[in-house]
Symmetry: C3
Subunit: 343 residues, 3 copies
Amino acid sequence: MLLSELAAAFDLILSGEDCEFTGLSTLDEATESEVSFFANPRYRGRLAQSRACAVILTANYAHEVKRALISPAPYRDFARAAALFARREGEFSGISAQSSIHPSARLGENCTVHPFAHIGARSSLGPGCVVFPGAYIGEDCALGADCVLYPNAVVLAGVEMGDGCILRSGAVIGTEGFGFVRIDGKMQAVPQIGSVRLEGGVDIGANSCVDRATLGSTSIGRDSKLDNLVQIGHNVSLGEQCLIISQVGIAGSAKVGDRVTMAGQAGIAGHLNIGDDVTIGPQSGVPKDIPGGVTGGGTPFMESGIFMRSFSLLPRLPEMHKRLLRLEKELAALKELMAKEEE
Amino acid sequence: MLLSELAAAFDLILSGEDCEFTGLSTLDEATESEVSFFANPRYRGRLAQSRACAVILTANYAHEVKRALISPAPYRDFARAAALFARREGEFSGISAQSSIHPSARLGENCTVHPFAHIGARSSLGPGCVVFPGAYIGEDCALGADCVLYPNAVVLAGVEMGDGCILRSGAVIGTEGFGFVRIDGKMQAVPQIGSVRLEGGVDIGANSCVDRATLGSTSIGRDSKLDNLVQIGHNVSLGEQCLIISQVGIAGSAKVGDRVTMAGQAGIAGHLNIGDDVTIGPQSGVPKDIPGGVTGGGTPFMESGIFMRSFSLLPRLPEMHKRLLRLEKELAALKELMAKEEE
Amino acid sequence: MLLSELAAAFDLILSGEDCEFTGLSTLDEATESEVSFFANPRYRGRLAQSRACAVILTANYAHEVKRALISPAPYRDFARAAALFARREGEFSGISAQSSIHPSARLGENCTVHPFAHIGARSSLGPGCVVFPGAYIGEDCALGADCVLYPNAVVLAGVEMGDGCILRSGAVIGTEGFGFVRIDGKMQAVPQIGSVRLEGGVDIGANSCVDRATLGSTSIGRDSKLDNLVQIGHNVSLGEQCLIISQVGIAGSAKVGDRVTMAGQAGIAGHLNIGDDVTIGPQSGVPKDIPGGVTGGGTPFMESGIFMRSFSLLPRLPEMHKRLLRLEKELAALKELMAKEEE
């Protein structure tokens, strides 16, 4: 492919001589036949050394490389370019004789079902779905068009999902929510008779879990993206376009708005309301509702300003304690002195 | 089903006219042919608006709904009612020709083995066990009656479990504990030649892991329930009727008593003793033994009273630091003043 | 086996009469025909009570047991002895007719492919590899000799791994890194066109995830060991002989040195540099680079000395706050007193 073709495809401005390139790579690893990109100022020092034949970047850095593909949003345009070189996992297409599909299941056109995949009774898949080896779809599920279940993803009975949902390897959708009650001195499971509903464009990371509702549905809004090893409790309602990073846990019945970002290992307690456009820092613990638009972190969750100051004081606690001790001593000495003077 | 039948079945008192209902739902989502329940005072505002044909609740709220099913324990009785409407995952029964069962394995009566399930040599399953697609049982395992392995659950060689154990999708029982030792400058795995023993009624959540012991057994007591993505290290001993919420980690050789509750993302360090009836808050880090009966939280784990006060002071650290600074200045000024006066 | 044979095999000194033994067990559980070991002083009280026929321990404890196998490194020599009694999971060998292997895949000598295992097009496996039921290898993967994929482990397309790598059940290698960008108001996945490279001797725990790089490779160095439920983000570079304990998360593009230990539930933010020989305590949150050789913990990560002091003051925050209040009052009283005296 020519640099000029790439530029034309995505409205980039080519600065420098046109040439052929064969793929994309990082600034450090690119060969002279590969294109790279520059979006994080942290890596500016690597620009000059890169052997890349061209770099996608903003205009102000164009003079630092031999050939520039100037973009107002280099990461976005790198993403577009990468799509040209991406390959889809799995070359098989069609329905494998080694799969297990219930006769009452209905598959749309151009679905692919790999070996060892299972599709249960009365489930329906829209056109273009791909079910990889070891993936499981239970009874009465309804999947939209172009859904992908990567190897060993599991969708239990009755789950609904819109078009273009992606379940990564080992993701489990619709396992029973964690509800127990003591009956006659024994712990008994509360039957979880609800379901899960994923709207279109939802992406669930590897080994993440979305629990079935006790009643009604656990729901994840359009285009929300979950990273790996995330836990979504029963009856959670997660809005649209959320980004939930790895190892986050959202406890049962929490209601999370649209465009909420949760960084890695953060947690939200049950039954809370989190507004739209909230950003929650890594490892935060959220014990109370958060109104819309707030950015913060920490445990307990604090707004950014307080959080940053509180956070930076934690390593200074020993020093603060020493200063407190010194003040106590000095004040005691002063009082003693004054008492003496009174005498 | 009639409301009066439900009332009779579970000793509820029906207040209001009898009628047919078709299922259960939340206060918000119930239609006029569904029964709901009310157990969390947080949702009291929803009682009046609910279209539910009847609500399971305590006597003191009965006047707030058109038909009440009065119960001393509404959540418990909802759970009992839900069991009437629950359906079990998987309609297939029998032994699938697409499964792989070693000839020396012994299966009790009425076991179901789905396609792509594997049962290893000399393993025995009690009557009524269900092994879903992609589930794996290694060699020499012994399962009691009515155990269920959901899709892609894994039980490695030599694991024992009592009656009625449930392994959710992707749970892994008996993977090697994490033990390494440097031999001749190389990291070598310490062979984990022990096993895992689950007593009856244990429930392991999706993608949770219970490691095989180095020697002896990792053990989980009767009726203990683990949520999703939980890690149980090698040689842990967990008591009976414990509730271990999602993403908790219990490090190797910890000894945890009966009826212990650990909230989400909490962790217990290795080799500790945690007494009976301990409750550990979310994200807590437990670095020391906890005697029986204690409730608390935080990192390091503190008893409730101290924890709540310490926790609430974290966001006030910046303010505390300012006050400390001001005290230092004022005291210095005072001392200076006194020194001057002495002159 | 005779104690004297064990002693001869590993250069142990047998103190006491020779005898037959049948296996290994803990001090508490050993019968009179089993050997135990003693390495953690915490358990010293159990030495006298143990029924073990002999105990592997250091010379200074030899007089406390009836028969000693004296070793300069008892845990290491226990590990060696355990290897004699370990059994490998899976008795099947050969290529199962119930597996799915693409005709273009190349398998070295003595590979075992269990039922329901899948190997994709053009992938190559070195001699002696074992692929358990439900394990998946995508297209164009290259595995060294003697790799083991336990049940339901997943290796997506294009992943490379050296000799002797072990993937535990449910581990997912090469799932797409978590990268999204808003294009035309829609969240779009950034295609992850890089790969993953595991060097020889890498061990990945159950249900752990190693993400595919955006460009280039996510890499894990020789002999590094990951416990269960660990998350390694895209483009992470992890050095050699690292020990990464359960539920740790390492965010994208972090560069971690050799011989780094991370305890359970710790997290490292993206794009950081962690030096060689760093030790990070449990639940730590690392927001900044750490130079080589540092040991510490906490959130934010602090060097050990400060961390231990800061950590121990957290439960004393309420007390510190009270003392601050008292100081304020006393100082105010003092100032008032002095003001009066001035009058």
